[in-house]
């Protein structure tokens, strides 16, 4: 298991220059998630407009993988209809939990395919999923809110 297969250039780029970082208004739901094992944390807000994810803003403290993953999340879901965003989430989650056996779909995951290598490092899968699980939680609440 090669280090570079984990720390892809794309991941390190997102880590150093995260997209959409910071907490912004307006938002319908804010959640705080923790990785209990290491203490990594994220506060994440979702703003929905007419069934579309119009913003995902966040303040995260964590390792390169978890930070880069939040940045990629922002890229992939902002501007998408909620249902489609949740499909992207399903694909990303399937890739992460696939133990390296799941083929990544570049059409859907774009930069997210750089995380394929993470699936081979079981201890890091949680890092990659932290922001995505927070997004799922926040979106569910936001949808309920508006229902």
């Amino acid at each position: 298991m090669n280090l570079d297969s984990l720390y892809q250039e794309i991941i390190l780029d997102h880590y150093k220059r995260p997209h959409g970082a910071g907490l912004r208004d307006p938002f319908e739901a804010e959640v705080h998630h923790v990785n209990p094992t290491c203490g990594d944390e994220i506060t994440l807000r979702v703003h929905l407009e007419a069934g579309t994810v119009s913003d995902v803003s966040y303040a995260a403290e964590g390792c390169s993988i978890s930070q880069a993953s939040a940045s990629v999340l922002n890229d992939l879901v902002v501007g998408k209809p909620v249902t489609e965003a949740l499909q992207v989430l399903d694909s990303f989650q399937a890739l992460m939990q696939g133990k390296g056996q799941v083929e990544a779909d570049e059409e859907v995951l774009e930069d997210g395919i750089a995380f394929a290598g993470v699936a081979q490092f079981p201890a890091r899968v949680k890092c990659a999923l932290l922001s995505w699980m927070a997004f799922k939680d926040a979106t569910t609440r936001a949808v309920e809110e508006s229902a």
């Binding site: 923790v34 209990p36 094992t37 079981p122 201890a123 890091r124």
Partner: protein
């Protein structure tokens, strides 16, 4: 002896080769006849070697470690959980909580239900008169602390659960019904379906003590329908130091933690903590890592033999033993007299020879049985005896061993009678 169930041969002599201890001699060179498996089972080489391999090749702490060894140890430990979930037909591996033994698992349920306020002064807990102390004392302690009332099913003269009056016993006031599946003293297999149906009718939770069931018969918790099922590693050819609490996820998810510390947290400040979801919430501190590996290997071992075959063997050997024991003058089996709906533990009295003395004479002949109250004092009292001798059988027990027991009992009568 060869037993055939579902068309598969069960070769007990071949099985015995996996258990080096069964080749041992005791009492000045006599071969060991181990008839105390309801107390603890023997361990096959496969289980012991899995534990050894884990310690010497993959040992690390779990969950917390980011390194290769930690990942291996975590996979091995969590693999044990997955294996046990499969073994008992749990809908989700997150429903399998590891405890140190069955007793802790029962106490866990009693404590957290009490802490959750489910056992208030107006509530009742129902157990039975045939329970092991480990399914009596936790409920006594819990109801005493909360002011709830403890009630119980009686036992009929032939050692069956007395279901008369079940509707008056299990009522809207009942918070929990906790009962054994297979009695470790009487051998009785209880009609769980009837009890679970009534309990769920009134909204009570059902806890099943399956300590003597899981080792002996195929178990599928999903179709059983109970809310909690408890069992213990060392009685199912697994290691000591591990027990299992299976709980329905939605029930577990609503309960507060049992012990605090280690990986059961979500976040901790000096002022307060929040807790992880099940099963982690109920597993404080470094878990029984090597023991989970051993228990997984035990499940593998049992499945390789086939639980159907093991159950068929247990039934056959119990039937044989009941028949042969009842040939002995003055021997009285306490519990069901036939092998129907009955597990492989047979308790008996032998005239007025005290069970200690029976066990001692048998031991001098290499035969290991248990003498005493078998942690079931109320069940003994129910039958007017202070103690009994118990012979119990398992997947490695042979008819020849039963014959040796019978001879030994006859010799005991001579020793103390003459």
């Amino acid at each position: 002896m060869t037993i055939t169930a579902a068309g598969v041969d069960y070769d007990v002599l071949k099985v015995r080769e996996d258990f080096p201890i069964l080749g041992r001699t005791v009492a000045n060179g006599l071969p060991l006849v181990y008839l105390d498996s309801a107390n603890t089972s023997q361990k096959p080489r496969q289980v012991v070697e899995a534990i050894e391999r884990h310690y010497l090749e993959h040992n690390a702490n779990v969950a917390r470690a980011m390194h290769t060894l930690g990942a291996e140890a975590t996979e091995a430990f969590e693999g044990g959980r997955t294996r046990i979930a499969e073994f008992i037909g749990a809908p989700s591996r997150d429903e399998v909580v590891f405890a140190k033994n069955a007793s802790e698992a029962l106490n866990l349920v009693a404590r957290v239900l009490a802490d959750a306020g489910r056992l208030g002064a107006d509530r009742e807990v129902v157990i039975t008169e045939m329970e092991h102390h480990s399914n009596i004392v936790p409920w006594q302690l819990a109801t005493e602390r909360t002011g709830a009332t403890l009630r119980w099913f009686g036992v009929t003269d032939d050692g069956r659960l007395d279901l008369d009056g079940i509707e008056q016993l299990i009522t809207e006031r009942t918070a929990v019904v906790s009962l054994t599946w297979v009695s470790n003293m009487l051998g009785t297999v209880n009609p769980l379906d009837v009890v679970i149906r009534r309990a769920h009718e009134v909204g009570a939770l059902v806890v099943v003590d399956a300590s003597q069931a899981v080792p002996q018969m195929p178990v599928d918790v999903a179709s059983l329908g109970a809310d909690f099922v408890v069992f213990t590693g060392h009685k199912m050819v697994g290691p000591t130091g591990i027990g299992v609490l299976w709980g329905r996820y939605d029930v577990l998810a609503e309960l507060p933690p049992f012990l605090g510390g280690g990986e059961m947290i979500e976040t901790v400040t000096m002022e307060r903590s929040t807790f992880a979801p099940p099963p982690a919430r109920f597993e404080a501190g470094t878990p029984p890592i090597a023991q989970s590996v051993g228990l997984g290997a035990a499940a593998d071992y049992l499945d390789a033999l086939g639980m159907e075959n093991i159950a068929a063997h247990e039934h056959a050997i119990t039937a044989y033993a009941l028949g042969r024991l009842q040939e002995i003058d003055g021997l009285r089996v306490v519990g069901p007299q036939t092998a129907e709906e009955r597990g492989g533990a047979v308790s008996f009295t032998l005239g007025d020879i005290h069970p200690h003395d029976v066990a001692q004479v048998l031991d001098s002949r290499g035969i290991a049985v248990r003498a005493g109250h078998h942690c079931a004092k109320p069940a003994h009292r129910r039958f007017g005896v202070q103690s009994t001798t118990r012979a119990s059988f398992y997947l490695y027990t042979t008819e020849a061993e039963i014959d040796a027991l019978v001879e030994g009992l006859v010799a005991t009568q001579k020793y103390f009678g003459g």
